[in-house]
Amino acid sequence: MRFRSDNGRVLAEGVDWRMIERGAAEYPSKLEHLPDPPDRIWVAGRRLDRLPPAVAIVGTRTPTPYGTDVTEALANDFAMGGVCVVSGLARGIDAAAHLGALDRGTTVAVLPGGIDVCYPSSHRNLYTRIAELGALVAEHPPGTPTRKHRFTHRNRIIAALALATVVVQAGERSGALSTARHALGIGRDVFAVPGDIRIDVSVGPHELLRDGAAPCTCAGDVLERIGVELARESAMRDLQEAPADMPPEQASVLALVGKQTMSAETIGSLAGFDGSTLAKTLVRLELGGWIARGAGGSVRRLR
């Protein structure tokens, strides 16, 4: 797929889109639950009526590493449970949700502009991959630029396409909360992922929890409610057993690092390593595919 800039928009060329009128076979019946269902939608990628049941994951565009990690793991687990993940292609939580789902299953991105307008433009690769492996949906004619008011309006479609909406991290006035309101308005379940009470992007989910949203601490919480059985594995909690022949330094680091990120400095002081042992051990685990290092030198266990 090729992209070109045009008048502030980034247009995808050669998108194989189709227009679906309300009442057509592919038109999702779930949209009829909305007070104002769109008369026609534009779709690219897989047929919407053949996609599995869906869950929406939405949240802030500026997550912390915790938010990104949790979103990816949740989306991964949903995909493994055979559920489609719906989100809005935005930065942060949305992108993590799409990426996590694409690993094991499928995903739908509801676009704020026309079907061929890639917004944000830095998500060209993600846009292309979703068009191939999942589906893109838009309610505006091709070429429609994104505008502020279209984002919140678009959120009602995300809420309607999904059986349940999960809010991961969101600020006080986040668009994710508008998605949750739309979901409640049409009687869908809303879940919130609890976060660190000290940070601003936890305010949104905690507000929802206070108002009666169900807590989401694993994919099973959501899947159970919508009647889908959870696959036995989970990307969120399950960790592989360290092999018996692993050198003790490496094993002790693995024992320290769970799925949350931990700083290299903390690992070093907890394990009692000097600089060169710490450097060597971390590299060996990295080479073995056990851990990954993120920005700021933090360490995360991969398996």
């Binding site: 500026t62 600089g275 060597k280 700021g296």
Partner: protein, 509 residues
């Protein structure tokens, strides 16, 4: 008509060139002319010299005075010629003996009351005078100590023009400053910047030691307030002390730049320079309107150049670092003048992980737009990044955590290891004509690093597993060589490679 000659020195770049001051007194209307490519600052000498002579209770010849500075092709600047001109005029007037004057080199700026003021570049001037075969150099007292660093020439400090005149008439003697007076007893310890002050930061300290031992340029990456500056300041304390030759080079640069403290002799501590991110290209590499002055890269010669917030520096300024980083010298061209200054420094660059500084922070979300993130990284790429071998993440520790960590090795202990490792490198690398692992050219890596089969396997694995680029592999090889040199091992094994890999620096192109 009577003619007299006096000798002084002109500084171009770091070098002094002997200059002859010829003074001719002829009959005619009283007039004072200066010729021989003097710049505006020397033209002003006429006023200073006349006032200073009169203040010294000497007669000013009421004749037509012509002063010629030769060789005429050499551009001359600065007030250091005042003393030679004044004494030349007095000699031409028959007030002092010519023979006495010709034996020595004269240096000094005059104030209107005849006091002799300190000049720049006295060390380089004394060197030039010594080479030109002068027996003595007459110069301002404040410059005496640095001049004694040059052997084989008598250093005669003077305070006032009248005193110089009396001395040349043989009416008084001057106390020469003994040679070697400037030699320091021992290298000074950097007391306020020891490694033990840095709690925690195990990995950054490890990287700092590798950087010092192998001469590798280092990139520190981390959130604001994490201690990047604190770490960078401690690099010089673990570098080997300056050799006498290196110390002379550094002192000469500071002398020419006019940055030598008064009465200071040899600079024995490696310099550390930390220019602000708003520094201009000329300020960084050297420049100036008339005679190019040394820039930060030269002032950091044999020391450390620390660029905090490196990605925020002007693009041109960063680009201009390419030459010095590769050649160890910098050549500045201004009009007809090309001046070369030494600039062999070790670079420590520090940067935030992203423009807002909080990418990857556990408790603050990063508010940077991804587009800006990419440009931020790009600004760091290019010539400077090509010469950086090591990268380390500096974590922001909480105050409480700081007390959990025992103080680590002191700078002195680490320095011993660094000195030993440098010695091993110098022996091994002598055949390649270099001294430190950071300078191993890519073509000689295979031969100079001496990696065994296990090391090569580890490198191959890092290409597959970590996506290391070819250039990244070369960097890791150099650093692994340094790891082995610190350990005292001749052959680089997988163990050394793995110790180096955590600090890999591999910017995506």
């Amino acid at each position: 008509m009577s003619v007299a000659k006096a000798e002084t020195v002109a500084i171009v770049g770091l070098d002094g060139y002997p200059v002859e001051v010829e003074v001719a007194l002829a009959s005619g209307l009283p007039q004072f002319t200066l010729v021989g490519l003097p710049d505006a600052s020397i033209q002003e000498a006429r006023e200073r010299v006349r006032a200073a002579v009169l203040s010294s209770n000497e007669r000013w010849p009421m004749q037509r005075i012509t002063v010629n500075l030769s060789p005429a092709h050499l551009r001359k600047a600065g007030p250091g010629f005042d003393l030679a001109i004044a004494l030349g005029v007095l000699a031409a007037d028959g007030r002092i003996a010519q023979e006495r004057l010709r034996e020595m080199c004269l240096l000094g700026e005059l104030s209107l009351d005849g006091t002799i003021r300190r000049v720049r570049g006295a060390l380089a001037s004394a060197m030039a005078a010594s080479q030109a075969g002068k027996r003595a150099i007459l110069l301002p007292r404040a410059n005496a100590t640095e001049a004694t660093l040059v052997g084989g020439i008598d250093v005669l400090p003077v305070d006032h023009l009248a005193q110089a005149v009396r001395f040349l008439r043989g009416e008084c003697t001057l106390d020469g400053v003994a040679e070697g007076a400037a030699e320091p007893p021992a290298p000074v310890e950097d007391d306020d910047a020891d490694l033990t002050d840095v709690r925690g930061q195990t990995l950054p300290k490890q990287a700092l030691e590798l950087a010092a031992a192998g001469g590798h340029n280092l990139l520190l990456r981390g959130s604001p307030g994490g201690g990047k500056t604190m770490l960078a300041r401690r690099l010089r304390g673990i570098l080997p002390p300056l050799t006498h030759k290196e110390a002379l080079e550094v002192t000469r640069i500071y002398s020419v730049a006019g940055l030598l403290p008064e009465d200071a002799g040899l600079i024995t501590q490696r310099p550390i320079r930390a220019p602000h991110l708003s520094v201009s290209t000329a300020g960084l590499i050297g420049g100036g309107s008339l005679v190019p002055q040394p820039g930060e890269v030269s002032l950091a010669h044999r020391g450390v150049l620390f660029l905090d917030e490196a990605a925020e520096f002007k693009r041109d300024a960063l680009q201009a670092l390419r030459g010095p980083l590769e050649e160890g010298t910098v050549t500045i061209v201004r009009g007809r003048w090309a001046v070369t200054y030494p600039a062999r420094f070790q670079l420590v660059a520090a940067t935030n992980p992203c423009p807002c500084g909080y990418l990857g922070d556990a408790l603050r979300s990063c508010k940077c737009v991804p587009g800006r993130l990419a440009t931020y990284e790009e600004r760091l790429s290019g010539p400077v990044m090509d010469r950086i071998d090591l990268q380390v993440e500096v974590e922001r520790l909480k105050k409480k955590e700081l007390f959990l960590h025992a103080p680590g090795a002191s700078s002195a202990v680490v320095r011993e290891r660094v000195i030993a490792a440098r010695g091993r490198q110098a022996d091994r690398l002598a055949t390649f004509g270099i001294q430190i692992n950071a300078d191993i050219p890519t073509a000689s890596l295979e031969q100079a690093v001496a990696a065994d089969a296990s090391a090569k396997r580890a490198l191959e694995r890092s290409v597959d597993q970590l996506g290391l680029s070819a250039r990244g592999v070369h960097r890791v090889m150099r650093v692994a060589r340094t790891v082995a040199d610190i350990a005292g091992d001749d052959v680089v094994t997988h163990d050394h490679v793995e110790s180096a890999l955590l600090f890999r620096f591999d910017p995506k192109k």
